[in-house]
């Protein structure tokens, strides 16, 4: 017997409903059912960070999370980080300016992970950035620019907050 069911979730601020088996990884549902292919499949065992998403603001691996576990919760993917007007988030802008990517496959996960870090720790020390971002592997080994981008995004966010204050 088919064990599909209706599951309601909120993705990037929009209410969604999918009909699927609840045990299916949310990574698959995002990519195949909702067309949000920014979240990448890398190792598929929670090590590489390519599928990093935020669930209620907390950094998680979409490959290890059944969609049933995010029912009724807020999921944020890389597609949800830019403003409604298309303006890039400070993290995205800093990755662009620092060249924080080479082939690009790990980039959405890097950007989502960095976003989670700066929400929790707005002015991280370089060591804290490296420790946090350790869970996002870049096989082009572009780590130097990635760390620079995260630090730059922290500076930019602080400067922006200063202007507004």
């Amino acid at each position: 017997m088919d064990n599909s069911e209706r599951i309601a979730l909120r993705v990037n601020g929009t209410e969604c409903e999918v009909v699927t088996a609840a045990a299916r990884p949310v990574l698959e549902v995002l990519r195949e059912d909702l067309g949000l292919t920014g979240t990448k499949e890398g190792c598929s065992v929670g090590v590489c960070g390519a599928c990093s998403i935020l669930v209620d603001g907390t950094l998680m691996s979409a490959c290890l999370m059944p969609v049933g576990a995010v029912g009724g919760r807020e999921v944020t993917t890389v597609e949800g980080l830019a403003g409604d007007d298309g303006r890039l988030s400070p993290v995205q802008q800093a990755f662009l300016e620092c060249g924080g990517f080479q082939c690009g496959i790990c980039t959405p996960g890097q950007v989502v992970a960095a976003t989670a870090l700066l929400r929790e720790s707005p002015r991280p020390a370089p060591e804290e950035v490296r420790n946090w971002m350790m869970g996002n592997i870049c096989r082009c080994t572009g780590y130097y620019s990635i760390v620079s981008a995260v630090l730059k995004a922290a500076d930019a966010t602080a400067a922006q907050a200063g202007e507004q204050a």
Binding site: A23, G46, G49, S61, P66, A69
Partner: protein
């Protein structure tokens, strides 16, 4: 491939009913970092998963009678960052901070970590050092098992079919007990240790009054090293006593050779690590 049916109990009682009904076709799902991977590897093939995210009784991390109760669904990140843990059992917060990556610590849970029972995990040795006790509930009621006695072998615990590990109690540590954790890993920082040692020590009037040692990666289960403790207890904590305790600890281990090192290498590194953690704690106590 048909995916398992997904159940969402809201109470522990309902969870136990589901376990009774579904028997060995069901697996409990906490953070998913172990079960989902085991299923992907074909090492677990549940027809049903019982998701525990909606069972409030299993969540939370609270101070109780001077100690702490960690709900089975408390995440490793909760253990790492919570102020009550940092105050009462800083070594436990430290051990938690060494688990995998922050993303995995956000998902992986205390209960899932314990029942997964990989012998290389960071949390069990430090829970052993703290004399932590697991609360296991089944159809017959509740039983309490010290974490030291929880593990039977690779991926095997005393938690039986139809039971659930619902919480871990960490008693208030005795005054003067210092703890530390040393994880030796020659590969990447998010890996399991080759071997790691958790230690607790108290010194009074120049004598070691309390000593607790436990090891991950030293065999088929994490292990509390009682023989090594006996060697050091009551001694002056001098270099000879520490070396003898480290030798005794190495003698208690039966590590396996694998990608993280040969059995002999793990044994030697456990000996070195034991000496280092004991030296560290003795120096702190003397300062």
């Amino acid at each position: 491939m048909r995916l398992p049916d997904y159940h969402r109990p809201t109470t522990v009682a309902e969870t136990l009913d589901l376990l009774a009904d579904l028997g060995d076709e069901a697996e409990l799902l906490a953070g998913g970092t172990s079960l989902v991977n085991m299923a992907k590897l074909g090492l677990a093939e549940p027809q049903h998963v019982i998701a525990l995210g909606g069972v409030p009784e299993l969540h939370g991390l609270t101070g109780v009678d001077g100690g702490l109760t960690l709900g089975a669904m408390a995440t490793i990140r909760d253990v790492e960052t919570s102020l009550p843990v940092r105050d009462l059992a800083p070594g436990l917060a430290e051990a938690a901070s060494h688990v995998a990556t922050v993303r995995i610590r956000n998902q992986a849970t205390v209960g899932g970590n314990l029942v997964h029972a990989d012998p290389n995990q960071d949390l069990p040795p430090m829970l052993m050092v703290h004399d932590a006790v697991a609360r296991i509930r089944g159809p017959q009621g509740v039983r309490e098992v010290p974490v030291t006695d929880l593990f039977l072998g690779f991926f095997e615990t005393v938690v039986e079919e139809g039971e659930i590990l619902e919480a871990v109690h960490v008693p208030a540590p005795p005054a003067g007990l210092r703890t530390t954790y040393l994880k030796f890993l020659p590969r990447t920082k998010d890996d399991y240790p080759t071997v790691s040692v958790a230690a607790g020590l108290a010194v009074a009037d120049g004598r070691v009054t309390d000593v607790r040692l436990a090891v991950a990666g030293g065999g088929a289960t994490p292990l509390r090293c009682r023989a090594a403790e006996e060697v050091l207890a009551g001694s002056d904590g001098g270099a000879d006593a520490v070396a003898a305790a480290a030798d005794a600890l190495a003698g208690e281990l039966e590590p396996i050779s694998d990608g993280r090192g040969s059995a002999r290498y793990k044994t030697e590194m456990a000996r070195v690590s034991a000496r280092r953690v004991l030296d560290r704690l003795l120096q702190e106590a003397a300062a």
